[in-house]
């Protein structure tokens, strides 16, 4: 390919994902020139704090939070995620859980079948992932039998798959998946998806408050927020945004919780405001959300995108009151 020939970057990224045909090597190269230096600096800083004796990663003070927002270096991610999220502590309380789930006499056939359908459909564009399909099956089947309310929900394949790519460890992936599904976004993946519906309503309200003109366009065209944002929320942006951007978002999600998911979703709208306002029909708008804004230079610049997320004014208390309102609306309609 011409674009790659003239680029120092391969057509496969560092996690094994093939870059799309429209990947902008020039813009990426420009971004990476600066970002590589940032990465090196960050790595040294993280090395320094991780070497401190008795440094407690489960106690997220202002300094640690700042470090995390600036990005956890790749090699440290598995352990740091486990500790800052509390997944490591949960595992310590129940060290045999994962193994015992895999040793169950029998798995529910319906669940096993639906997972099997999705295995070949998980990251087919990743050159390493073929060898990880058995591990992915194990994580998903174990979790489905651990949490019967959720069982297997399509979308968990992408979360677990990306966890597996990052940690290269089935058991850690299981515990991090459990943490996301039960503590970060509970009742998103359950059978009635109750909290997903609630949070889609909350998100719409946030858009109305922060970028009303954008909401008017979306509403006038008749594109439901469920179409735009279901995958964002269900997969926490896995298999939506470029991998490095997703991982930077997840760094913060594990440290700070669900609020980050709203920050990221809102930042998608705010940073693409002009593009949305320029859409003249629903097809163009749907295409913008589905194809364009998930891989453009704004989101590929993970650093810039994270900064945009944290430039937004957003308080947990506001989200909580919007959630109450959404629940109220649901019971009255």
């Amino acid at each position: 390919m011409d674009a790659t020939a003239s680029s120092k970057f391969s057509d496969v990224d560092e996690y094994g994902f093939k870059r799309g045909d429209n990947f902008d090597y020039k813009a990426y190269s420009k971004f990476m020139d600066g970002y590589l230096k940032t990465l090196t600096r960050r790595r040294m800083k993280w090395e320094a704090i991780l070497q401190q004796k008795d440094f407690d990663l489960s106690n997220i003070d202002a300094k640690l939070k700042r470090y995390i927002r600036k990005g956890i270096p790749g090699p440290y991610r598995p352990d740091v995620w486990m500790k800052i999220s509390g997944a490591a502590a949960a595992q310590q309380l129940n060290p045999n859980l994962y193994k015992s789930l895999l040793e169950l006499e029998q798995f529910n056939k319906e669940i096993s079948d639906s997972i099997s359908i999705d295995l070949p459909r998980t990251f087919p564009d990743n050159i390493y992932f073929d060898t990880k399909k058995d591990s992915l099956y194990n994580i998903l089947i174990a979790y489905a039998h651990h949490n019967r309310d959720v069982g297997y929900c399509q979308g968990l394949n992408y979360i677990a798959g990306l966890l597996l790519i990052v940690t290269n460890d089935e058991e850690k992936s299981f515990w991090l998946l459990k943490h996301i599904v039960e503590n970060i976004v509970p009742q998103y993946h359950s059978h009635n998806m109750a909290n997903l519906l609630r949070d889609l309503a909350v998100f719409k309200e946030l858009v109305i408050r922060r970028v009303p003109a954008v909401n008017r366009v979306v509403e006038n065209m008749g594109l439901p927020y469920a179409v735009i944002a279901t995958k964002w929320f269900i997969c926490i942006f896995a298999e939506v945004l470029p991998v490095e951007t997703v991982l930077r978002i997840w760094d913060c999600v594990f440290a700070e919780g669900y609020k980050i998911v709203f920050r990221a979703a809102l930042a998608m709208f705010v940073t693409h405001k002009n593009a949305i306002l320029e859409c003249t029909d629903i097809a163009a708008l749907a295409n913008l959300f589905r194809d364009v804004m998930i891989q453009d230079s704004i989101v590929t610049d993970c650093h810039g995108f994270i900064n945009a997320m944290f430039a937004l004014r957003l308080k947990r208390s506001e989200l909580e009151s919007l959630r109450k309102l959404a629940a109220l609306n649901k019971t009255t309609t």
């Binding site: 992408y158 998806m193 519906l197 889609l200 719409k204 509403e219 439901p224 629903i282 163009a284 295409n287």
Partner: protein, 214 residues
């Protein structure tokens, strides 16, 4: 991608439903972009694409909605049926269970879609001849008994994909255009049976702009 599709006489919303893995997304991409992806990904939530075709010299713009096949996603898709005038109910000819579940999908349509929705039963993956588990005649008979039209397609080798969409859109067009002769076009907006607060206004079933200009 095609030209901007601003000009049309009719706008029809059609939904793709059926079990997970039967090939709904590939039918959609084959019809709207003439693409097939062997390395397809599972659809999460709802996808959406459009294409315009000609019937009787009229331009019909089809707005086609595709969704995750997993049952729990029905929670977000009640809005999905709103305003839909057609449904392609897809099963996999090589997987009998996906055919058995057609009944369940019909119930789903009965509960959530307009009662006049035009339904076409689609046996996809007809290229998998050696793996066929659902005989054509059986499905045809089932379709007849339930008042559905029927076709077998292959999104992989393109067989009948164009025809399937052409047929259902033509069928809808005939119904809608006859209705317009009988009734005034207003009041023809399909009312949702189950309104979720997350959604916005309904899609209008037929664009009658041309009539206004005449």
């Amino acid at each position: 991608m095609g030209a901007r599709e601003d000009e049309y006489d009719y706008l029809f919303k059609v939904v793709l439903i059926g079990d997970s893995g039967v090939g709904k997304s590939n039918l959609l991409s084959r019809f709207t972009r003439n693409e097939f992806n062997l390395e397809s990904k599972s659809t999460i939530g709802v996808e959406f694409a459009t294409r315009s075709i000609e019937v009787d010299g009229k331009t019909i713009k089809a707005q086609i909605w595709d969704t995750a096949g997993q049952e729990r996603y029905r929670a977000i898709t009640s809005a999905y049926y709103r305003g839909a005038v057609g449904a392609l109910l897809v099963y996999d000819i090589a997987k009998h269970l996906t055919y058995e579940n057609v009944e369940r999908w019909l119930r789903e349509l009965r509960d959530h879609a307009d009662q006049n929705i035009v339904i076409m039963l689609v046996g996809n993956k007809s290229d998998l001849r050696h793996l066929r588990a659902v005989p054509t005649d059986e499905a045809k008979l089932f379709a007849e008994r339930n008042g559905l039209s029927f076709i077998e397609t292959s999104a992989l080798d393109s067989t009948n994909v164009e025809t399937a969409f052409q047929n259902i859109l033509t069928e809808i067009y005939r119904i809608v255009s006859q209705k317009q002769i009988r009734d005034p076009p207003e009041g023809d907006v399909i009312r949702p049976s189950n309104v979720e607060p997350i959604d916005v206004k309904p899609t209008v079933t037929a664009d009658v702009r041309k009539q206004c200009c005449q």
